[in-house]
C-alpha cells in the first residue's frame, strides 16, 4: 500500500492508497521506501518543538498536522500574513511541502489547511471575524466527521459547509431523523448532534481546548551570545547566570522553581534539553546549579551554544526561612538535607527510582500499599496539594510526614517485611487439604515446615471486585477521558496502576478468590508468608479452578 508520494510521482499519476503492484503498473521505475511510522511521529514532534518560535502553545495534530496558537503573537512578525509567509518560507527552505492556514478557531484552521485554497498565495488566511465566509465553500469532509455522518450529509445533498450551516439547528435534527431510517433513533440523534457540535466548534461558539506539547513555563530567562560558547566552563557560567535571573524573577512573585528546563540552542540549529526537578522551592539557585552541574558534562556542545534558555515549568510558593541571628546563615534543617538528597538521587537515578512507601486502606495485601516517587511526594507537599488518592483513604503520605493515625499502620496479624510481586506459585504437600503445608517446593528447593501459624483468611473486597465487569468499564472510560498531565502527575498514575483495582480486574477476567494465609517457618528458621488461593469446600458452579498455593512474602 502506498502511504505517501512525492511531487514527481503525483505527476506520474500515483496517489496514496494505491496498492504497490498498481503503482508499479502505472510507473515501473517507481522507487519505494518502507514506511516508518515511529520516525514520522518523532520527526513531527521535533517539528512541533521547533514551532515554539511562533508561540508557546503548539502540538502535533493527528498523523500529518501541527497546530500553534498565535494569539497575541502575530504582531511580533508584522501581522498574520507575514507570519504565515515566514513559516512557509522556513519550512520550504528545509525541503518540506507545507499547507499553512490561520483562522479564528482551531476547527476552521484545520479545515482551511487541508481543503482551502487561496489564489496566488502559498497559505490560506481567514480574516478575523470572517471565519464562516472563509469556510463556506469547503466540502463537508473538512468538518472532522465520521464516515457515517459524511455519507448521510451527502445523501441529503449537503456537500458544502455553507449549505449545512444555513440549515437551522432544530430542523437539522428532524431531517436527519427522517432520512436515516435504517439506523436506530439514538444513533440518528447522535449523528445530528455531532454535526452541530463540529459546526459550533468551527465558528467558535463552543470552545475547543487543546493540550499543548508542554505546559507553558511560568517564567523563563534567556541569554543570547554573539559568539557561540564552546568551553564547558563558559556554558556552566552562562547557565548559572540564567538560573540566578530566573530565581530572582520567581522570588519577586514569591515563588520558587520546582521543575526547571534548560535548553541549549546549538549553532547548527539543534537543541539540547535538560530537565531538573527539586523537592522544595528555593529562593537561591545554588541547589539547582549543583544539579545542573552534574548533568552538564553529558551535553554535547557541538558547534557551540548560541542561546541559553531556562524556564520554570512548575513552581511552588516560597517558604520564609528565619535567618540565624548569630552568624547570619540560614539554618540547614534536616528536612532540607533529606529533600536535597532526594533531588540528587532522583537527578541521577531517575525520579521514579527514588521512592517512598505509602499505605492504602485495604485488606487485600497487594493493594494495601503503594510506592510513589519521593520527589513528587515532596513537591506535592511544597505546593500544598492533597496527596494523590487511588482507592481507599490514604493514611500516611510518605517520607516523614504522617497524620495522627500513626499507630493504625500496625497490621493486626504478622505481615512480611518483603513482599514478592507477583506471588510465586509453589508446590505444596499438606497433611490435610485444608491445613497448613508440611513441606513445599519453591524456586526448585524443598522446604520442610517446622511451625505454621493458624490460617488468616482474607476475602476479596466485594465492594471493588464483585462487579468486575463494571469496574473494567469504568477503568477504560477513565483512561479515555483523562488528559495526561504533562510532568509528574502522569507518572504517579502510572505507578499506581499495578495496585489499582481496575487494572487487576482488567488483567484477570475471573473474579478474585479468598485466600488463606499462613506464616510458615522451615527447619532452618527461614520464615515465609504463603497463601492458598481458593477454598476446597466453597467451589462455585462457574469456578472450577482447584485451589493453588503461592509464596507471597518473606519475613526478615
Amino acid at each position: 500500500m502506498v502511504a505517501a508520494v512525492n511531487q514527481a510521482a503525483r505527476r506520474a499519476g500515483l496517489q496514496p492508497g494505491l496498492s504497490l503492484s498498481d503503482a508499479r503498473a502505472i510507473h515501473p521505475a517507481v522507487l519505494t521506501v518502507p514506511l516508518d511510522r515511529d520516525a514520522n511521529t518523532a520527526a513531527l514532534r521535533d517539528l512541533a518543538i521547533w514551532l515554539g518560535r511562533y508561540g508557546p502553545n503548539r502540538n502535533v495534530d493527528g498523523e500529518d498536522g501541527l497546530w500553534v496558537e498565535i494569539t497575541g503573537v502575530a504582531h511580533l512578525f508584522g501581522g498574520e500574513p507575514s507570519l504565515l509567509e515566514d513559516l512557509e518560507l522556513r519550512l520550504s527552505g528545509a525541503g518540506l511541502t507545507v499547507r499553512a492556514a490561520a483562522a479564528d478557531t482551531y476547527g476552521a484552521a484545520h479545515a482551511l489547511a487541508r481543503y482551502g485554497t487561496q489564489p496566488r498565495r502559498p497559505y490560506v488566511l481567514a480574516v478575523a471575524g470572517a471565519t464562516s465566509d472563509a469556510v463556506a465553500e469547503l466540502p463537508v469532509d473538512a468538518l472532522r466527521l465520521t464516515e457515517d455522518s459524511l455519507l448521510l450529509l451527502k445523501r441529503l445533498g449537503l456537500r458544502k459547509i455553507g449549505q449545512v450551516a444555513a440549515i437551522p439547528k432544530a430542523a437539522m435534527a428532524r431531517r436527519f431523523r427522517d432520512e436515516a431510517r435504517g439506523a436506530r433513533r439514538q444513533d440518528r440523534e447522535a449523528l445530528a448532534r455531532a454535526v452541530v457540535w463540529r459546526l459550533d466548534q468551527l465558528t467558535g461558539e463552543i470552545a475547543e481546548p487543546k493540550t499543548p506539547l508542554e505546559p507553558p513555563p511560568h517564567r523563563s530567562r534567556r541569554i543570547l551570545f554573539a559568539e557561540p560558547l564552546i568551553s564547558s566552563e563558559g556554558i556552566a557560567v552562562a547557565v548559572r547566570d540564567a538560573l540566578a535571573g530566573l530565581s530572582e524573577d520567581l522570588a519577586e512573585i514569591g515563588e520558587g522553581a520546582l521543575n526547571v528546563r534548560l535548553c541549549l540552542f546549538r549553532a547548527d540549529g539543534t537543541v539540547a534539553r535538560l530537565d531538573v526537578g527539586v523537592s522544595r522551592p528555593a529562593s537561591t539557585p545554588t541547589h539547582l546549579q549543583k544539579l545542573f552541574d552534574v548533568k552538564l558534562p553529558e551535553v554535547d556542545a557541538g558547534l557551540g551554544i548560541d542561546v541559553v534558555l531556562v524556564s520554570a515549568l512548575r513552581v511552588a510558593p516560597l517558604e520564609t526561612v528565619q535567618p540565624r541571628l548569630r552568624d547570619g546563615q540560614r539554618t540547614t534543617s534536616e528536612p532540607t538535607a533529606t529533600a536535597d538528597l532526594v533531588d540528587r538521587l532522583s537527578n541521577r537515578l531517575g525520579e521514579r527510582n527514588v521512592r517512598c512507601l505509602t499505605t492504602v486502606e485495604s485488606h487485600w495485601p497487594e493493594r494495601a500499599f503503594r510506592t510513589v516517587a519521593a520527589q513528587t511526594q515532596l513537591q506535592r507537599r511544597a505546593r500544598h496539594a492533597p496527596p494523590a488518592r487511588v482507592s481507599g483513604e490514604r493514611r500516611s503520605d510518605g517520607l516523614g510526614r504522617q497524620g495522627n493515625a500513626e499507630l493504625c499502620d500496625v497490621a493486626p496479624r504478622p505481615r512480611p517485611q518483603f513482599l514478592l510481586e507477583p506471588p510465586e506459585p509453589i508446590e505444596v504437600l499438606a497433611a490435610l487439604p485444608e491445613g497448613p503445608p508440611a513441606r513445599f517446593k519453591w524456586r526448585r528447593r524443598q522446604c520442610r515446615i517446622r511451625r505454621a501459624s493458624p490460617p488468616e483468611r482474607i476475602a476479596p473486597e466485594w465492594w471493588t471486585d464483585l462487579p468486575a465487569r463494571h469496574m473494567r468499564q469504568r477503568g477504560s472510560n477513565e483512561t479515555e477521558t483523562s488528559i495526561p498531565d504533562v510532568g509528574q502527575g502522569g507518572e504517579v498514575q502510572a505507578e499506581g496502576a499495578p495496585q489499582s483495582a481496575s487494572a487487576l480486574a482488567a488483567s484477570s477476567p475471573k473474579p478474585l478468590r479468598p485466600r488463606d494465609y499462613y506464616v510458615l517457618e522451615d527447619v532452618t528458621g527461614g520464615r515465609f508468608w504463603v497463601f492458598r488461593d481458593g477454598l476446597y469446600h466453597l467451589t462455585d458452579e462457574d469456578d472450577e479452578r482447584p485451589p493453588k498455593w503461592f509464596m507471597h512474602g518473606v519475613f526478615a
Binding site: 534536616e334 538535607a337 533529606t338 529533600a339 536535597d340 538528597l341 532526594v342 540528587r344 538521587l345 541521577r348 537515578l349 527510582n353 527514588v354 521512592r355 517512598c356 512507601l357 505509602t358 499505605t359 495485601p365 500499599f369 510506592t371 519521593a374 500516611s396 503520605d397 510518605g398 517520607l399 516523614g400 504522617q402 500513626e406 499502620d409 500496625v410 497490621a411 504478622p414 505481615r415 512480611p416 517485611q417 518483603f418 513482599l419 514478592l420 510481586e421 519453591w442 528447593r445 522446604c447 517446622r450 511451625r451 505454621a452 501459624s453 493458624p454 510458615l520 517457618e521 522451615d522 532452618t524 528458621g525 527461614g526 520464615r527 515465609f528 512474602g553 518473606v554 519475613f555 526478615a556
Partner: protein, 348 residues
C-alpha cells in the same frame, strides 16, 4: 605523646641498666648466649608494645577490646569522651552482649557488614538473605535509641538494585512495625547496577539527610568500601551493608556479622505457631578488638515489642521435643567458655 612512655612497657629502662651492670659484675664469662636471648626477647616485647600503642592510637581504644584504657586516660580519649559526655550508645539491648561490645557499643559512624552465613545460604538463599536483612533492620531499630529526636525523625534509606528487589521482594510497609519503622520512615533508592547503588549509598551518607542506611549489594570492592567508610565517619551516619555470602569480605568495616536464621521457640499462646524471630549471629570482626582469637557466636531473639535483643539460653530456651533440639540452638561462646572453665575446675 611518644609511644615509649606508656606504662605497659615490660621493664623500665633504669632497672634494666642496673641489672646490666650487676650482671656484668657478677658474670664476667660463661653466659653470653642467655644474655643475648634475653635481650632479644626484651627487644621484641618493646616492639610489640610500640606497635600496640600505635594501633591503639589509630583505633582509639584498648587493643584487647575492653573499652578505653582505664589506667591510662590518654589525652585523645579524654577529649573524645568530653565531647560526648552523655551520648547514648548503639547497643543491642541485652547486658551480656553489650559487655562484649565494650563501653562505646557499636560504632555509629561506620560501615557494618552483615552477611548471611554460608551454611544458611546452602540451605536456602531467600531465607538466609532475609534473615540478614532482618538483623540489619533490627540493628537499625536499636540505632534509633542511640540518636536524639532530631535525627530520629529522619528517614532510613534502603538501597538495592532492581534485580534484587524482584528476587527478594519489595519492602512491605505493613511488616515494618516489628522493626520499629513506620511506612513513611523509608526512602527507597533503586538502581540497575551495583555501582549506582554504591554511589547512591555514598550520597545518602554524605548528605546527613538519613538516620541510617541499609545497602544490599552483591559485593563491594576495596575503593568503594573505603569511600563508604569515610563518608560514614564524616557524617556519623551508620551504613549497614548486606552482602552475599559467596562474595569476599568487605574491607574497612567496623564490624562484620554473619547471620543465619535460627529455629524459633513456639508462640506463647499457640504451640504450633512460630514465636519471636531468632537469629544465630557470629560477630566475625569488631574493630577495636583486632586480636580476638575466636569469633563470638550468639543466638539472639528479637523482641518486636520492646525492640531489644535477648540472648537465647541453651538450657532454658531449648526446643520442647528432643529430636529437634540437637544442634539447632547455638549456645553463646561466652556461656560455653564459662561452662568449660567450670568443668575444668571441677575436674582438677
Amino acid at each position: 605523646m611518644s609511644a615509649t612512655s606508656r606504662p605497659q612497657m615490660t621493664s623500665p629502662p633504669q632497672v634494666c641498666s642496673h641489672a646490666k651492670l650487676r650482671e656484668a659484675d657478677a658474670e664476667p664469662l660463661g653466659m653470653p648466649r642467655v644474655k643475648a636471648k634475653r635481650a632479644r626477647r626484651q627487644k621484641r616485647a618493646e616492639t610489640i608494645a610500640k606497635l600496640r600503642c600505635l594501633v591503639e592510637r589509630i583505633e582509639g581504644c584498648r587493643p584487647d577490646g575492653f573499652g578505653t584504657w582505664a589506667t591510662d586516660p590518654s589525652a585523645e580519649t579524654a577529649t573524645r569522651q568530653a565531647e560526648r559526655p552523655e551520648a547514648p550508645c548503639w547497643r543491642l539491648g541485652t547486658a551480656m552482649l553489650d559487655d562484649r561490645l565494650g563501653a562505646r557499643g557499636i560504632e555509629v559512624g561506620g560501615v557494618h557488614e552483615i552477611r548471611p552465613s554460608s551454611d544458611a545460604m546452602a540451605q536456602g538463599w531467600a531465607g538466609a538473605a532475609s534473615a540478614a536483612a532482618g538483623f540489619a533492620l533490627a540493628l537499625c531499630a536499636r540505632h534509633r535509641e542511640a540518636v536524639d529526636d532530631r535525627v530520629a525523625r529522619l528517614p532510613v534509606a534502603f538501597c538495592q538494585t532492581e534485580a534484587v528487589r524482584r528476587e527478594l521482594g519489595q519492602v512491605y510497609p505493613w511488616g515494618l512495625a516489628s522493626y520499629a519503622l513506620r511506612p513513611c520512615d523509608l526512602l527507597l533508592p533503586e538502581a540497575r547496577r551495583d555501582d549506582d547503588v554504591l554511589w547512591a549509598a555514598e550520597e545518602c551518607l554524605r548528605s546527613g539527610g538519613v538516620r541510617c542506611l541499609i545497602v544490599r549489594v552483591r559485593d563491594v570492592d576495596l575503593t568503594p568500601a573505603r569511600r563508604l567508610a569515610l563518608a560514614a565517619a564524616e557524617s556519623g551516619t551508620p551504613c549497614l551493608l548486606l552482602t552475599d555470602a559467596r562474595a569476599p569480605v568487605v574491607a574497612a568495616t567496623a564490624t562484620r556479622w554473619c547471620v543465619a536464621p535460627a529455629p524459633c521457640a513456639p508462640d506463647r499462646y499457640d504451640a504450633d505457631a512460630p514465636g519471636a524471630r531468632r537469629f544465630s549471629v557470629v560477630l566475625d570482626r569488631f574493630r577495636g578488638r583486632p586480636f580476638a582469637a575466636q569469633p563470638d557466636a550468639f543466638a539472639l531473639e528479637w523482641c518486636d515489642e520492646t525492640f531489644c535483643f535477648r540472648v537465647v539460653a541453651g538450657l532454658r530456651d531449648r526446643a520442647p521435643s528432643p529430636h529437634l533440639a540437637t544442634g539447632e540452638v547455638v549456645t553463646g561462646a561466652f556461656r560455653q567458655s564459662a561452662h568449660r572453665q567450670r568443668w575444668r575446675a571441677t575436674a582438677a
